[in-house]
Symmetry: C2
C-alpha cells in the first residue's frame, strides 16, 4: 500500500459517509462547467468545520497528498481538476451565515453558501450582496476565482467586497487575515492575496463580506440596437460620462436568439443592452433619462422598461442563464467559454475584430459581456468529435486573448487562470509570475494546494499537469 493509499484509507475511516471514493462522485468533482478535460480526485470529503479541514490539511500535508477545495463546480477554467489525484474538499456542508451586521453592512459566512442562499438569508435586513457572476456559485469559490459579474461596474468585484478571511494554511495553521474595520493599513494585504489564489495557497473556511444597502429604487431596461458597434460605442459613452449604472450588459444578436429559445421570450434578435439603475427614485429617474439620451445618439431603439420586481427578475434570470441559452443554440455540443477584459477605450476594437473572426470561423459563438468594465465572454459552441472544429475554436480563442493582451488588457477578467490559461498568464505578466511562484513556494513548499493551477510549479511539470 502506498503512503497516499494509506492516507486515503485513514480519511475514509475517519469521515465515514462524509467521504466518498465512488466513481460518479469523484468524476463530478474533477469536472466543472469548464470545457477542459476532467481529472477526478481519489477521494471526496465533505467537511463540517474549520477543525475538520485543519485535520485533513495536516494529514495530507504530512504525506504530500494534494488537496483541491470545491464549491459549486461552476468555475470555467478547469480549477477543480485533480491532475495528481488527491483529496477534493467539497465545502458545501459548511454553508452557514455566521453573523449579519446590518449596521456595519458586513456579514461573516462559511465558504459553501451560495450567493443566492446568502441573499435569501439577508432578505428583510435592508442590505444585500451584489456580486452576481451568473451561476449560483459559492462564496468560497467566488472568492477564490476573484469573481465579479453583472454588478461589478457599480459595486466592484470580490476583490473589493471580501473584507477578511479565515484560512487553513498548508502547514495546518489557521489564520485570520483581517479585523472587521472597513479599512486598514496593518501589514501586507493577505485578504487580497488569497482572493483570486484559486485554492493554491490554503483552504478558505470563513469569509467576511461587504454588503450594500438595498436601493430605494431600481429600474431595469433592455435597449436594442441595429448593429454591434452602435451598442458598444453607446456603452463606452455612458461609462465615460460617469453615469451611475448598476448593470450594463451586452448580448449580441446570436446570444439574443439563444435567450429567446431557452427562456421562451420574444426579444428582438439584435445586439441588446440590459441596463439597471439603483438609487433614490429621483436619482434613478435622472440617470436612466440621461442614459436613454446617450443611447439615442447612438441610434438605439427605445428602452423597454421592466419596473415591476417580477419583470426585472425575469429579465435578469434570462441574462443569468446565458450560458445555457448559448448552448441551446446547438444542442449536444459543448461550449468553450472564455473571457477577456480590456481598457474601455479599446473595447470596440477588441469586440468588433473578435466578431469578424467569429463570422469568418463558421462556428456559432454567442457573445455576452459585462461591457461597462471592458469585459466580455465568448461561448464557442464546438463539436468535440470534430478535430477541424476544435482547431478553429482554439484559434478563435487564442486570437481573442492575444488581441486583448495587445490592447493592454488581461487574459481573464473574471474566470481565472485555472489549468486553461497558464501560458497566457506568462504572456500577460512575464517576470511577475516568478514573484507569484516565490509566494507559492514560501506558503506551500510541498505544493499540496490545488496543484497544476495558475502556473507550472516544480513537480507539476513532472506529471505534465
Amino acid at each position: 500500500m502506498t503512503m497516499t493509499a494509506a492516507v486515503l484509507d485513514q480519511l475514509t475511516a475517519r469521515f465515514g459517509e462524509r467521504a466518498s471514493e465512488a466513481r460518479g462522485v469523484r468524476e463530478q468533482h474533477g469536472a466543472s462547467e469548464a470545457y477542459h478535460a476532467p481529472l477526478p480526485p481519489d477521494l471526496v470529503i465533505f467537511p463540517d468545520s474549520t477543525l475538520e479541514v485543519q485535520e485533513i490539511v495536516r494529514l495530507c500535508s504530512e504525506h504530500r497528498v494534494p488537496l483541491i477545495p470545491y464549491g459549486a463546480g461552476t468555475s470555467l477554467e478547469g480549477h477543480t481538476s485533480a491532475p495528481r489525484g488527491g483529496v477534493c474538499l467539497d465545502m458545501t456542508r459548511m454553508n452557514k451565515v455566521l453573523a449579519i451586521n446590518a449596521e456595519d453592512m458586513d456579514c461573516r459566512v462559511q465558504p459553501g453558501i451560495t450567493r443566492k442562499g446568502l441573499n435569501a438569508e439577508l432578505n428583510g435586513s435592508g442590505v444585500f450582496f451584489p456580486i452576481d457572476p451568473g451561476a449560483d456559485a459559492t462564496i468560497g469559490g467566488m472568492s477564490s476565482t476573484r469573481a465579479s459579474g453583472t454588478m461589478a461596474v457599480r459595486y466592484g468585484t470580490m476583490r473589493e467586497n471580501v473584507l477578511g478571511l479565515e484560512v487553513v494554511m498548508p502547514n495546518g495553521e489557521v489564520i485570520r487575515t483581517s479585523r472587521r474595520a472597513r479599512k486598514s493599513s496593518a501589514g501586507y494585504d493577505l485578504t487580497k492575496l488569497f482572493v483570486g489564489a484559486e485554492g493554491t495557497l490554503g483552504v478558505i473556511t470563513e469569509i467576511t463580506l461587504r454588503l450594500h444597502p438595498v436601493p430605494e429604487a431600481i429600474s431595469a431596461a433592455t435597449c436594442p440596437f441595429d448593429t454591434l458597434d452602435q451598442a458598444v460605442n453607446c456603452v463606452i459613452a455612458i461609462m465615460q460620462l460617469g453615469l451611475s449604472v448598476a448593470r450594463i450588459e451586452l448580448l449580441d444578436s446570436v446570444m439574443m436568439r439563444g435567450v429567446n429559445l431557452y427562456s421562451k421570450l420574444g426579444f428582438p434578435e439584435t445586439p441588446t443592452l440590459f441596463l439597471e439603475f439603483h438609487g433614490t427614485a429621483a436619482g434613478v429617474e435622472e440617470q436612466a433619462r440621461r442614459a436613454q439620451e446617450v443611447a439615442n445618439d447612438f441610434g438605439a431603439h427605445e428602452f423597454q422598461w421592466a419596473t415591476r420586481p417580477e419583470d426585472r427578475s425575469r429579465l435578469w434570470t434570462a441574462r443569468d442563464n446565458t450560458l445555457y441559452a448559448g448552448m441551446a443554440l446547438r444542442p449536444g455540443v459543448r461550449a468553450m467559454i472564455t473571457d477577456v477584459c480590456v481598457p474601455i477605450s479599446r473595447l470596440a476594437e477588441c469586440l468588433l475584430e473578435t466578431k469578424r473572426d467569429i463570422d469568418a470561423s463558421g462556428l456559432i459563438v454567442p457573445i455576452v459581456g459585462h461591457v461597462g468594465d471592458g469585459n466580455f465572454h465568448l461561448l464557442i459552441l464546438v463539436d468535440q468529435a470534430s478535430p477541424d472544429e476544435l482547431v478553429r475554436a482554439k484559434r478563435l480563442h487564442d486570437d481573442m486573448v492575444e488581441r486583448a493582451l495587445a490592447l493592454d488588457g488581461t487574459c481573464t477578467g473574471e474566470h481565472g487562470i485555472g489549468s486553461g490559461k497558464m501560458a497566457f498568464l506568462l504572456s500577460e505578466l512575464g517576470d511577475a509570475v516568478d514573484v507569484m511562484r516565490m509566494v507559492k513556494h514560501a506558503i506551500d513548499p510541498r505544493n499540496i494546494m490545488n496543484p497544476g493551477k495558475i502556473f507550472q510549479f516544480e513537480d507539476d511539470a513532472k506529471v505534465g499537469a
Copy 2:
C-alpha cells in the same frame, strides 16, 4: 574599509551631486512627520529612472546594504527611519505623469509626484484623483502606506485606486503587476501585495491609478453640534442610511479651536462635521437635504454651506491643515499622532471612551476623524522633555489602540505599522503575521528593503530595530 563603506563610495562616485552624505540631508530623510526617533541613513540618492533604481538595488542587494524608499516624508509611524543605516532612495525627482487616459479614467505616474501635483496636471481633463490624506504626500508613499483620507468614504483608499505597479524587486528584476484592464482574475493580486507593504518588498517605480470623473456639482458644508456623541451618532445614522457622502469628517471642539487659531477662522468651537456631496446638481441637492434631516434628528445646528469653489477650498484647506492646527494649540511641543479604525457600529463607543480618557489625562489632545469609515486620529500634544507627560501620552495611545482591537477594529486605519505599531500588529492578526514574514522572506531573503518595519525579521532583532 567595510563592504558597506565601499558600496557607498561607489554610489557616491556614480551619482555625483545626486548622492548626498551631508548630515542635514541624512537627518531629514531619517525623520518624517512621525514622533518616533529619527535614524538617518548613510547616504541619500536621488534617482532619475527605473534603470538607475535597478542599478542601485542590484549593488545594495549584492552587498546586503539596506535600502529605504522615501517620498515626501509625511508618513506618521517612522517608516523612513534607517535603523541599520544604508541608502535612502529619495524618489522626488521621478515625478512625471507618464500617461493620462481620460477615456479609461486612469493614468500612469512616477512615484515622486504628489497628489496635488497630479491633480494640477489633470486639471481640465475631466477626471481627478480623489485620495486626500491631508498632507501633500507622494503617490509612491501613499501607495506604500495604503493611504486613504477624507474621500475614502466615497472613492475608496489606495487599495481600490492603484490599478497596477512597476516594481524593482530586491533581486533587481523589474516587474509589472498588472495590465491596464479595470479588473482581472489573472493570478495572485501582486498589486495589492505591494500596496501597503511600506517599501519592505521592493521599490515602486511606476503607478497606474484609477481616476474619477470630476463631479458635475459639489457642495460642502460644516455642521456644528453641541456634543461629541450627537455628532458621532449622526455620522453613524447617515452611513447606515446609505446616503452618498463624498466626505464626512469630524473635528472635536479642541480641534476646532486649533483650526480657528491656525487658519484664522471663526467657526463655533464645538464638535463639527465637515461634509461634501458629489454628483449631479439634483443628486447633490437631494443627498444634502437628507443629510440635513438626519442631522436635525441628532440636534445639529444648521448646515453652513460653502458653495463657491473658493469657499470650499478654504474649508478643506482648513481641514487638511489639522495636523498643524492641532500643534498650534501648544507651540513648541511635538504631536504623537496615531489612528485607529473600528466597525461603524462601534465608533461611538470607541470615540467617546477615548475622549473620557483624554479628559482624564490632563493633556491637550485634538481629535479628527474620517468617521464615515470608522477611522479617527488623535494628536497627542506632549512635551518630550517631560517623562511624566510621555508616560501619560503613551498610556492614552496604547489604551486607544487596545480598545479599537477589542472592538474588532484595526490598530491603524491609514497610517501603517512602520516601526511604531509592530507589537499591535501581532495583537491584531496573530499567526497571520507569520504568513507576512514568509512572503517577506521569499521576496527579500536578505532583508535589504526598509528593514525594521511592519514586523521583526531575523537580523532586525540583532540591532534592536
